[in-house]
Every structure is written in structure tokens, then in C-alpha cells.
Symmetry: C2
Subunit: 244 residues, 2 copies
């Protein structure tokens, strides 16, 4: 009886995978058959939380169960709770009826993550059969309000990238400025003029040039840089810090 | 039957009120009588959300119903969902039994706000009888996990203050550097050496000195400043901006 009177709570996970070519998002298939036609709609990994679970634990469990991925750091970023969020599309309504929850209202707590899925690191990222990486710019339709959740996570990610040094975790320890530019371009979904980009980052004192160049590349080897967290922390503090 | 099997969802509101003397938080009393003794425990404004409500609407409704305050901009900042969050203290257990929800698990979506409650602006902030402003530094105990929620909101507020120009919304249009220092001291809960503070803010190009001084003050009138959002936006962009 209470079903329908109080909302359920779920967790949805937006896992971004970066591979230097694309910013991808981890999606799973929701298969439904209506009047003899099979549909494989795409959705974010997600499920109802259990009563005895803490939210973060719930997110970790749901990600493993849905996609096979474990040990991924997930960060809560926003809850979505419009009463209409599950009911805007006909196929979602059919699906709710099929699983016997036609009147369900579910508030979802959304988590996100950004991980390196480039070749050298992706060997231990084995996905379940119905999970796959899709380039974010190719995702045009997801079930229910999952497009809104994806957009919210993307906005969150881009603000983080512009305000915190999270990008450097995806670069090799020693990297070229071209690699750095590529990372910003892929995650922000844009392209930069090389000279403007270099001018912009020339003020970043925490980018330390090395007396080392790339080796084993076909083109003219470029200078390597490291990111100094120490300098970053110090210059950030100089800027606008009132901590005692 | 479903009660106890799926969690309820609530909204809790952390409304900070700034008055140049203290950073206050809006609290309400939860009255309970146990074995003939009356207790007036303090809690954050909060309640269960309704099934047909969007989360932001729910927060606004609950704030009005609990405290009488309307038209306050509330921002969602985090959800709290530890299964034990309601059950750590004996009086909370008694209270849950009294309202007939002994097994309830409630996930709460927390909102926060920062408003000006100094004399000249507080005339339209009429509170309900059981609601009151308490200086944050005097709050040592709240019901359930509300201290955790308050601490989370405070941390969020301080990070915002150090990274965004939210403080200027609480200052008069023309202000002195002493007023600005006081604002940072009150919200960050600390004190600054005057010279160090001035040195720190001398790099903020968006603080524009005027050819005007205070009038009608007993002490030596100080220079007035304005905050330029235009310069702030521009210098912020120069710093670390890759927008196209």
C-alpha cells in the first residue's frame, strides 16, 4: 500500500571514461519487448538503494552489479526528484508496467566519476555484457530523465576541470603540452588555437618544464612537463586564501 | 508493510543568517515529553517530501511551514543516507516511537542558504514561534545527524566564500575594508591580522576604491570600495578559462 505513497530512492552513476580520443560515458541496455518488437534502450547504471545501505556503499554496489566495474571512486553530485521524471516517455511507462510499478515515483541520487580508459590502463576494466562505453557527443537519447542527469554530470565535470587540477590525474606523469591541450579539448568538447592555449597556460606556475623531451616519436620530439601539486597548492593559496 | 522496507525521503534546510556579529543558523524546537520530563531539542527545519513535489519546491514549502520564511533561495548541496542516522541517540528513538515510526529509515536531501539578517534587512524575516537564530559557534548538539548536516553545510559555505564572490551580496553596495574583513572573519570563524588581510586582498582587482569616505562615523572615516562583478568575471576568465 505504501508503494506509490512514498517515493523510492535510487542511485544512478555517470562514469566518464577518457581515452585521449573521446570522452565516453558508461551505459547499459534496458531491453524491453512491446507488441513483439524488441527495444534496447540505453540508460545509466542505476538501481534502487537498499534499506540497510549507506549511499556511497549503495553506489559502489550498484555500479558493480550493473557494469562489473569495481573500485571506482564515485562522488555524489546531485539528487533528481521531479515527480514526472520516470513518466515522460511511452516506453518508460510500458517498462514500469512490465515490472509492476506503474505508479512508482523514484528520487535518484546521482554520482559521477572520471577514469582513464586509455589502452594501457583499461586492461582491468572488464565490463559486463550489457555495459559499454559510448562517446558522450554521440549520446542523444537515454531512458527517463537520464539525459538530464548526464548533462548535469557533464556540467559538473567541466566546472571541476576548469577550477581544479583533476585533468592531470589522467595525463602521464610526464606529458607534453599537446597532450594537455588534447585532454582539455576532449573533456570540454571543443578545440583551441594552439598559440592561445599555450599563452593561457603559460601563467600556470605549477606546470614545470623538464630538460627532457619525448623519445621514440615520429615527429619532432616535444618538451615534457610535470604538474607540481606543491606549487599548485601554494599559488592557489596565495590567490584567495584566508585560512589560518 | 512497505514502511520499513523502502526509505522515506526528507528535505532538511540549513539557513545561515549573517548579521556582522555572528554567523547564525535557523533552528527549530522539537518538543518531546519522556517520563514526565519535557525536552526541547533543537533541529534543522525539515520534513518528509510529498510524492507529487519536485525537490526544490519541497524545500521551499518545508522552510515556510517550519519557520515562516519564504522567498529564500535554497541550494541543494548533499544527500545524507546512513541507515543509522536517525537512531544514534536515545531521545530520537523515543521520538520515532512516539510518532509511530520506530523502524523508519529516512534519506535526507540537504539544502542551504546564506541570507542577510542584519537590522536593516531583517524586518521582513518574521519567524514562527518555535524557530530562532542561533550563533553557529554556540550550536553543540542537534537531533539525529543534524550536526553532521550543519557541518557539511558550513564547509560548503566556506569553500564557496573562498572561491566565489558570494560575500559581497551581504555587504552594502559601498563598503569599507574593515567591513569586508569582518564578514570573512565571521563566516570563516576566525580573526585576521589587519595588515595581512589588506595585503591579501590588494591583489583583488575587482575591489574598486572610490574617492569617497564614510560619513557620520565617530572614528576616522575609512575609504569606501565597491565590488565590480565585471572585473571579477574578466579576471577570473583570464586566470584559467578555456571557454570558447
Amino acid at each position: 500500500m505504501q508503494q506509490g505513497l512514498i517515493p523510492n530512492v535510487s542511485v544512478d552513476c555517470v562514469v566518464f571514461g577518457f581515452d585521449f580520443t573521446n570522452l565516453n560515458v558508461l551505459l547499459i541496455e534496458r531491453n524491453i519487448s512491446i507488441d513483439g518488437t524488441n527495444y534496447a534502450d540505453l540508460k545509466l547504471p542505476g538501481d534502487l538503494i537498499r534499506l540497510d545501505e549507506d549511499l556511497d556503499d549503495s553506489a559502489a554496489r550498484i555500479l558493480i552489479e550493473n557494469t562489473g566495474l569495481s573500485n571506482i571512486y564515485l562522488k555524489q553530485f546531485k539528487s533528481f526528484g521531479s515527480p514526472e521524471r520516470l513518466k515522460r516517455k511511452q516506453r518508460d511507462l510500458e517498462w514500469l508496467r512490465k515490472i509492476d510499478h506503474p505508479e512508482e515515483h523514484v528520487i535518484t541520487i546521482a554520482y559521477y566519476s572520471l577514469i582513464d580508459i586509455s589502452e594501457q590502463r583499461s586492461s582491468d576494466l572488464i565490463l559486463s555484457d550489457n555495459a559499454s562505453w559510448c562517446p558522450v557527443h554521440e549520446v542523444t537519447d537515454l531512458v527517463m530523465d537520464h539525459m538530464d542527469i548526464l548533462k548535469g554530470a557533464l556540467e559538473h565535470l567541466r566546472i571541476e576541470l576548469l577550477n581544479k587540477p583533476i585533468g592531470f590525474e589522467l595525463l602521464p606523469d610526464k606529458f607534453t603540452l599537446s597532450q594537455m591541450q588534447k585532454l582539455y579539448e576532449v573533456i570540454l568538447g571543443t578545440t583551441f588555437d594552439k598559440r592561445n592555449f599555450r599563452k593561457k597556460i603559460s601563467s600556470m606556475k605549477y606546470l614545470i618544464p623538464l630538460n627532457e623531451k619525448q623519445v621514440g616519436v615520429a615527429h619532432k620530439p616535444a618538451r615534457l612537463y610535470i604538474f607540481s601539486r606543491e606549487v599548485y597548492t601554494k599559488t592557489k593559496r596565495d590567490n584567495f586564501d584566508f585560512s589560518v
